[in-house]
């Protein structure tokens, strides 16, 4: 075997904690990479994967310090480089693709200026040459309008495109090693697949050695030759991708694999009970409401659904589909332009200010990020006590008793009441966030991406908890997520939103089966599967990325693989009921959709 291109031996990184002591956050990590190999670093938050990735560029975040070990790239001892030499080394020989391209691009400079900066800085090309090379890369990464996209500013480019532009930026100086840090985590599944394919083609095509950091095993299965599993800054195991997926040795890897394929919870059929909430013909948006009853910027169009006591409705769609707006309208934060929201058969006033305290109490919202939803300066007891006093008038010992019961309900020890949110882990905070909503003793809770910010294992525990609460308390829940796995695992019914319209709604079982609405099918087939070769097998189904000047009658028309030009763009699609029991919004007959579904089946 030839000498490896990258060799990391006994790497140790220390960070200063709140008490001012130095604690190791990465310990004794060693691995080696041959030229052209792709290694994945996988682990949950706090596993040290980003810290290791950054140390490959000789960089440690403020407050951290690379305190031991060696990193060798080619013949260079990375940790022994002077500051001046490091500047030449970074970008020229190792480059970095950050998690959030929208944050990592400078908002006040054009994309081209930032993509070519590295080549100009390191003198690998003159301006014209660098721009030519950038345009070549844009083309290789399947970016639309490669000749001119560089003249735009970051805010004028979509998230998926920015992520690909960042890959172009990383590759411009033809580095020996590319470090990709969760490059698709912030993207929708349908966008992620295109970005993954573009990355894979470019990395494999140029024979670049790469380190791919991710928490998602299914994504890693598509990209990596080998996988290194990390936990709390220590190596759990390292091996070829196929071996890690089929025969994991470490118990931790086994638990990661188990959490990646969630088990269905709850019943397949919604329980037969009266609906707690019914939404009829709901249209809502932002801006002034016109004479035709449409807001200036409509976000939701003609939405209708019911949620029964003890059942849950999953709402799924990509970013911008109107999922969160739906929760805001039901909660009364955004008054609807048209349509009704009925609570126990009684119409609710559209605006929050007109609702009675009783109505407010019965609908509670659980926000996505517990970090920002909980006041960091107050104890958990005070956070939970306030809604108890507000809605139920309980004070003193009675209030403390109720706080204790709530904590018990969300499976937290009573001692947590004395602590502040900052002292709790992410999962514990999300439990407190849930308990805060439950304090009102609501009939309906609206959960907006409540597990998105959590690690898979922690998120799965929250889903279990919610399922228990739903059965014990007979709660109706609306569960908003961009993750099809999550929604299918916890909801009795699933509603698919696309551009503010409900394109498919049906029971959980129905959403599992073909045929689907073409958008549902795109979603289903875009969720990476936990096996190698899935990405190659799956053909591209995404239509051209063009946004017409007029909104077509069916909003999905430009991306639809079975669109009927002349019909779908002109006539609003009818609602039809499929034999599996789901309603869809489509011109296509069931037989056509079934045929279309076969090659990309689950």
């Amino acid at each position: 075997m030839t000498r490896p291109q990258l060799e990391v031996r006994d790497l140790e990184v220390r960070a200063r904690n709140a008490a001012g002591e130095e604690v190791p956050i990465v310990e004794r990590v060693s691995f080696a990479l041959q030229k052209g190999e792709v290694l994945a670093l996988i682990g949950e938050s706090g596993s040290g994967k980003t810290t290791i990735a950054l140390s490959l560029l000789g960089y440690a975040r403020p407050g951290c310090r690379i305190s031991g070990g060696t990193i060798r790239l080619g013949e260079t001892d990375v940790l022994g480089l002077s500051r001046r030499a490091l500047r030449d080394f970074r970008g020229r020989r190792v480059s970095y693709v950050a998690q959030s391209a929208s944050a990592a691009f400078n908002p006040s400079r054009t994309v081209m200026a930032q993509v070519t900066e590295m080549a100009l800085l390191h003198g690998t090309a003159d301006r014209a040459g660098a721009e030519r090379r950038a345009i070549e890369l844009f083309r290789a990464l399947a970016l639309p309008d490669p000749e001119r996209i560089g003249h735009r500013y970051p805010h004028q480019v979509s998230g998926g495109q920015l992520q690909r532009l960042m890959a172009a930026m990383a590759l411009i100086a033809e580095p020996e090693l590319v470090v990709l840090d969760e490059p698709t985590t912030a993207l929708d599944v349908t966008t992620q697949i295109e970005v993954l394919r573009a990355f894979k083609d470019v990395v494999k095509g140029s024979g670049t050695t790469a380190v791919y950091v991710s928490h998602d095993l299914a994504v890693v299965a598509q990209m990596a030759d080998r996988i290194l599993v990390l936990r709390n800054g220590a190596m759990q195991e390292i091996g070829p991708t196929a071996r890690i997926l089929s025969a994991p040795q470490s118990p931790y890897t086994q638990s990661l694999l188990a959490a990646a394929a969630p088990v269905p919870r709850g019943a397949d059929q919604p329980p037969a009970a009266a609906p707690v909430i019914a939404v009829q013909g709901l249209t809502a948006g932002y801006g002034r409401i016109g004479a035709d009853g449409m807001p200036q910027i409509p976000v939701l169009r003609d939405i209708g659904f019911e949620i029964r006591r003890g059942s849950s409705l999953g709402v799924i769609g990509e970013s911008g589909s109107g999922k969160s707006t739906l929760a805001r309208v039901v909660a009364g934060l955004l008054p609807a332009a048209q349509g009704r929201v009925l609570l126990d058969g009684e119409a609710l006033p559209p605006a929050l200010a007109q609702r009675t305290p009783g109505q407010l109490r019965r609908i509670q919202l659980v926000f996505q990020s517990a970090d920002t939803a909980l006041n960091p300066r107050r104890s958990v007891g005070a956070i939970l006590g306030r809604p108890i006093t507000f809605f139920h008038g309980a004070k003193g010992a009675e209030r403390d008793r109720r706080v204790k019961r709530l904590l018990d309900l969300v499976q937290l020890p009573a001692a947590v009441a004395e602590r502040q949110p900052g002292e709790l882990s992410g999962g514990q905070k999300q439990r407190v966030n849930l308990a805060r909503a439950l304090a009102a003793e609501p009939d309906l809770i609206l959960c907006d991406e409540v597990t998105s910010a959590l690690d898979t294992v922690v998120g799965a525990a929250i889903l279990d908890l919610m399922d228990e609460l739903r059965r014990e308390l007979g709660l109706a829940t609306m569960f908003i997520s961009h993750d099809l796995h999550t929604v299918r695992a916890v909801c009795d019914e699933v509603m698919v939103l696309y551009a503010g319209a409900c394109v498919e709604v049906g029971s959980r079982r129905a959403i599992h089966e073909a045929p689907w609405h073409p958008y549902t099918q795109l979603l289903v087939s875009s969720v990476p599967e936990l096996r190698q070769g899935w990405l190659e097998e799956r053909g591209s189904v995404r239509g051209p990325e063009v946004i017409g000047t007029d909104r077509p009658a069916c909003a999905f028309f430009p991306r639809c693989s079975v669109a009927l030009p002349g019909t779908c763009d002109r006539v609003a699609p009818p609602r039809r009921t499929l034999s599996k029991g789901a309603d869809i919004l489509c011109h296509r007959e069931e037989a056509d959709l079934l045929r279309a579904a076969i090659p990309a089946g689950p």
Binding site: L54, R90, G91, S95, Y96, A98, A104, N106, R109, M118
Partner: protein, 314 residues
Amino acid sequence: MLRLVAARIALGLVSLLLVSLAIFAITSLLPGDAAQEQLGQAATRETVEALRRNLGLDQPGHVRYLRWIGGLLQGDFGRSLVNDMPVAQLIGSRLPNSLMLAAATAAVSVPLALAIGTTAAMWRGTAYDRAVSMLTLSVVSVPEFLVATAAVIVFAVQLRWVSALSAAADITSVGQFFRVFALPVFSLCCVIIAQMVRMTRAALIDQLRAPYVEMAVLKGVGPWRVVLTHALPNAIGPIANAVALSLSYLLGGVIIVETIFNYPGVAKLMVDGVAQRDLPVVQACAMLFCAAYLVLVTTADVVAILANPRLRHG
């Protein structure tokens, strides 16, 4: 973008109109009037009444306001009640002095403040940064009359480097220019630099924490380039606002400095106007200061809009 800028300017004009109302109302509330002031304690009620009528002070407030604002719009600032000179001429003779002082101070303070703020942000947490923080904090907390008086005592009285009084008229050479302006400019700089340094530092540090700065470092961009080409363009908005606020002080807030150095500027004219109940002069000076303030702040907003590609191409 043009709409945004136009809206900003229109808003400035509306503010100016409201300010004119406020100025007029407040100056009308001043106890005593020019007639009383001119004729002194001994005047009879009839002579005071006659002079009041003569000066137009017997008209109801809204009529006087409309006549005044109408005059302003036509460039007529009225006549001084005290010496019957046109107010425009009074201000015109003082304004160049004030502008010269303001320009000299701005030319010294803005580059200095930006340089200190930028370097403090770059080397944040170092001894240099802490020294800058301490110094600006202590300078901004010392009242300017103390700074000015101390400067006079040290540099004019003890060291005899410059003269204690500044009269812009005696400038004949560059050396003279420095001798006249050194002390007032120094005193004013002490007051306004601190604010600009602190805002520049804070705005830059805010940007230096952004992920795109880390990205630039990982691209191999050197520290100066990171600050100057990556962070600074994004910090222009808040910095321009801090500069505008500080500079606006130079026109209206220099009363103390002009008084201490007996400098014949507009602020001193206004102080004298108040003492003599010369309302047209006071009102015109107040309007001038407010207009200058609004022009500066609006310019800062427009700069912030132009510096932000989201708004520029919005």
